[in-house]
Symmetry: C2
Subunit: 232 residues, 2 copies
């Protein structure tokens, strides 16, 4: 099984560990170590502690450089949506890591191998092990394969408001000017509606209506995102 793990890591991610024990540690759940106390195995938790911080920094640096105009609040929100357990569990699945996890009997019976929090842990521990054994550059290579392309394609922008999502999508390939303009006000004072048009580098990408200027801007951004999606 460990041989297959080494092969998997080598074939899929191009990584050959110097210290295979570290790789095994990253795939040893505490329940397995507890079931085999006589072997005094190290479990993945310390590597998970380290990997969590490695991911925090690599993702932060990537976002910081990729979105030079995005304010701190948006960066923080985006980072949170990337490093949260569900997202990392999904990555663990896509990397097909779960099959190599050493689980205790009880945990196995309770379907632990499919539990998102556990998959997240093993992903973090794996990243921690790569960091310790290979260094930061190899971690970045790994994330360039499995994570960064997802950020580029906007997979983590869904939690954002439409204006931010539009900004992020458009600024993927550099800074662009996005402007919102009220082009019409409809109805009497007590029931006023605004129509806002969004311009990207001077070209109209859509209009939106709303009871406030902000609401109309959000709606215009949503329409623009739809238009861009259809045309991509």
């Amino acid at each position: 099984m460990t041989e297959q793990l080494f092969e998997h890591v080598k074939n899929n991610f191009g990584i050959t560990f110097h210290d295979n024990e570290l790789l095994i540690e990253a795939f040893t759940h505490s329940s397995y170590a507890n079931d085999h106390r006589d072997l005094t195995l190290k479990n993945l938790e310390r590597l998970e502690f380290l990997g969590d911080a490695v991911l925090e920094l690599t993702v932060s640096e990537y976002l910081y450089k990729k979105f030079p105009e995005l304010p701190e609040g948006q960066l923080t929100r985006m980072r949170a949506s990337i490093v949260r357990a569900e997202s990392l569990a999904k990555l663990a699945k896509e990397c097909e890591l779960a099959q190599f996890l050493c689980l205790g009997k009880g945990e196995e019976l309770m379907n632990g191998r499919k539990r998102p929090s556990l998959l997240c842990d093993v992903f973090e521990a794996f990243v921690g092990a790569i960091f310790l054994d290979q260094g930061m550059e190899t971690v970045m290579d790994f994330l360039r394969r499995v994570l960064f392309p997802k950020i580029d394609s906007g997979a983590f922008s869904h939690g954002m408001d439409h204006k931010t999502a539009l900004q992020e999508l458009l600024q993927k390939n550099g800074v662009v000017t996005i402007a919102y303009q009220v082009i019409k006000e409809i109805g009497p004072d007590h029931d006023r509606q605004f129509v806002v048009e969004v311009f990207v580098e001077g070209d109209s990408l859509g209009t939106g209506k709303g009871r406030s200027k902000k609401g109309a801007e959000q709606e215009a951004a949503r329409v623009a995102l739809q238009t861009l999606e259809k045309n991509s």
Copy 2:
């Protein structure tokens, strides 16, 4: 003022920035940028976002390597006590960073220059700027000057239980064997008390009494810590 900042950073931390703008950005509070909108200044918030993650990783790696026997839970608690706002604000004070902070008028009047959360922000932003401009190795050099010696001296172990604190103190200079042994049980069954003795590398460092074995162990560790403190 900026010249003085460059001098301060060079003289106290041995760092000469390639990009001085980045250093200035780390000391520009949003309130100052808002007061001077015409200058379209960048404020420190994006660097703070990055520096926060840089600290998270550097501290994690340091703890991971320094305490090879400490379980994940203890590492996490210790990391939290190091990177929390109060601790970082204290570091900012010791590094005498506040004097160079560009604050808006309102913030200045409200004594912002002394507010812990603000001092923490500037420390994180400064670390973020060092990371971007100089790289990880210079960040580590900086932390070896201002932070890691504090960890070594146990400044962040106070929130820990006595057994953990003892372990950390003793393992500063390498792994040692700490053993707890019940040496006496006192009283009748319904009012039993335990006396535990703590041995370090075979030598007794103290005893403790308690209504449970765990309690007696904690008490023995507390006594051992006191003894060590007196003798240091």
